[in-house]
């Protein structure tokens, strides 16, 4: 997946599917998913797994539940310390 280039950057901790993941300050939730080892974050109309793809808000591949609100584009959401990021159940079913 992805790792921080430098280990010394300031981080915040987000909770991805109940697992704490440290991510660099200033990241988006999509970056947090990728840094946390998930390149599958959901599925689409055809029930196939999809992951973050464009990271600029256009593809809707990274929609997840953030702090209880479903359908949010992870790439358009800045991380906050303690933010909860969950994939919806449909997506979990598709995880390889």
């Amino acid at each position: 997946m992805f790792r921080p280039r430098s280990e010394t950057v300031p981080t915040v901790t987000v909770i991805i599917n109940s697992r704490p993941v440290p991510v660099p300050l200033g990241s988006t939730a999509a970056a947090a998913l990728l840094a946390g080892g998930s390149n599958v974050s959901g599925s689409t109309g055809d029930d196939r797994p999809r992951g973050p793809f464009c990271l600029m808000g256009a593809c809707f591949g990274c929609r997840v539940t953030i702090d209880g609100e479903s359908g949010r584009r992870a790439c358009m959401t800045s991380v906050q310390d303690g933010m909860r990021i969950d994939f919806d159940t449909l997506a979990r079913k598709d995880l390889p």
Binding site: M1, F2, R3, P4, R5, S6, V9, P10, V23, P24, L25, G26, S27, T28, A31, L34, A35, N39, V40, T44, G45, D46, R48, P49, R50, G51, P52, F53, C54, L55, M56, G57, A58, C59, F60, G61, R63, G71, C75, M76, T77, S78, D94, P96
Partner: protein, 469 residues
């Protein structure tokens, strides 16, 4: 609900280089403007996150040297100008009378302005090839944003495939960040490079610094012994099972068949203007064969076919951030003139150096468009390729419909749901039109584009209900 506080001289949609520059120029002439931007931070795809990077990871900025300084300067200027930027705000409808409907972090809001400046920018061109929907396949721009936003580097083997300056740039930046870049697969050919030669002089005088920056990047790739395969075609990505993560990318090239293992495949085939807002408004559009994309038809100041609407930046055709800044300022100057804050003579005087900047940028761009023809290699994907990522509609399904006499893109959309998923056609509309043109031999002007309807962004019914007056 709309009140005096929701009335402006100019509403700028998009907080990238064009929008920010327009706000700075507007403020200079007493034009009251507002910027709506749908990302958490302003700057657009090129400048966003530079402030955070400068603060938290100053060492990383060197990797983005070609534009970091200009970006930070522009962001500081807009701050000094005191323009309100509504970040995190999705515009879901716009009307020719100057009304803008948005869901903002503070709730739904309808605003109004004498003039609108659409500075919505561009997106990466969809690259439909077999396997491009697999996890572990992203766009090259996405990897660049991860570097800029978060200083993140891919952990496994990375292969970049497609064409265009950004492909080379991201490959070199990734290598500089310590990523394992295994190969660059370039769909453009030696013939394309030769065909670009007549345009080289204009490119050299147009953007000598950017051109030499590009050459340094190519040199850096060579020095790092990263193989660059040119003239590749028939790209396809295989992986675990039917839909699982990417593992290998295959291609056919001048030297025969090739394949390489990849944990991450980054695709790129140039940029296309985001024309959804101007299409929704009904602004006349024109097809650019050179850039293989639609763009609004504009006068030299960026004015569209609709009296109240101007457009600036890469949303008017890809020309890069320098041209976008100049175009944003020109649109603001013309707005100031129309609102009688600036004389025609003064507008023209201030615009002269900006026109020069745009001409120079186009000199470079016309060269780049020729050596890496936009979209090449992705225009007629094989039948099994998914065209519409959201609804899983394949190229084969579309071909069958065309053989059965299906007339056009809107009819195909209605039959297949291609373009009706959550991205609303942003990652299939262009590919669908390409396929129809390739299969039927009709012109792009004749085929046209999918109709754009509000809401432009998915929104909750609650927001929709609250916005009705």
């Amino acid at each position: 609900m709309s009140g005096p506080s929701d009335s402006f001289d100019l509403i700028i949609i998009g907080g990238g280089p064009a929008g920010l520059a327009a706000a700075v120029e507007s403020a200079r002439h007493g034009v009251r403007s507002l910027i709506l931007d749908n990302h958490p931070e302003p700057g657009g795809s090129v400048f966003r996150d530079l402030v955070a990077a400068a603060r938290h990871r100053p060492g990383d900025l060197a990797c983005f040297s070609a534009y970091a300084e200009a970006g930070l300067e522009l962001l500081a200027a807009v701050k000094r100008a005191g323009t309100t930027i509504l970040s995190g705000s999705s515009v879901w409808s716009v009307e020719p009378d100057g009304s803008v409907h948005a869901s903002t972090p503070a709730g739904p809001r309808t605003m109004h302005a004498s003039r609108l400046l659409i500075a919505a920018g561009a997106q990466e061109r969809p690259c439909p090839i077999p396997g491009w929907t697999r996890p572990g396949v992203m766009t090259a721009g996405a990897a660049q944003l991860l570097m800029k936003q978060s200083g993140l580097v891919p952990t496994g083997r990375v292969v970049l495939a497609g064409s265009g300056p950004l492909l080379t740039m991201v490959a070199a930046q990734l290598a500089g960040f310590g990523a394992d870049v295994a190969a660059v697969l370039d769909t453009s050919t030696i013939g394309d490079a030769l065909a670009g030669l007549p345009r080289l002089p204009a490119a050299v005088s147009g953007g000598p610094d950017l051109l030499s920056y590009g050459l340094r990047l190519v040199h850096r790739l060579r020095r790092a012994h990263i193989p660059i395969h040119r003239g590749v075609k028939n790209l396809r990505i295989l992986g675990k099972g039917d839909d699982g993560p990417a593992e290998t990318i295959f291609w056919d090239g001048p030297g025969g068949r090739g394949s390489i293992a990849a944990d991450l495949v980054l695709l790129h085939a140039g940029l296309i203007p985001d024309t959804r807002i101007t299409r929704l408004l009904g602004c006349a559009q024109e097809w650019s064969a050179e850039q293989w994309s639609w763009r609004p038809r504009l006068d030299g100041w960026g004015n569209s076919s609709i009296e109240t609407v101007a457009v600036a930046g890469d949303g008017t055709g890809i020309a890069g951030w320098r041209a976008a800044i100049a175009a944003g300022r020109m649109a603001a100057l013309d707005t100031a003139c129309r609102l009688h804050r600036l004389s025609v003579a003064e507008r023209d005087r201030l615009a002269r150096p900006l026109q020069r900047t745009r001409r120079r940028a186009m000199g470079l761009r016309r060269f780049l468009d020729r050596i890496a023809p936009p979209g090449a290699g992705f225009l007629a994907p094989p039948d099994e390729t998914i065209l519409c990522r959201c609804e899983g509609v394949t190229a084969g399904t579309v071909r069958n419909l065309l053989r059965d006499g299906c007339a056009g893109v809107n009819q195909i959309k209605a039959f297949t749901r291609c373009g009706m998923g959550s991205c609303q056609g942003r990652f299939c509309s262009a590919s669908l039109a390409n396929l129809v043109v390739a299969e039927t031999g009709r012109t792009m002007e004749d085929v046209g584009e999918m109709t754009v309807r509000p809401p432009l962004e998915p929104m909750s019914l609650e927001v929709l209900a609250n916005s009705e007056e």
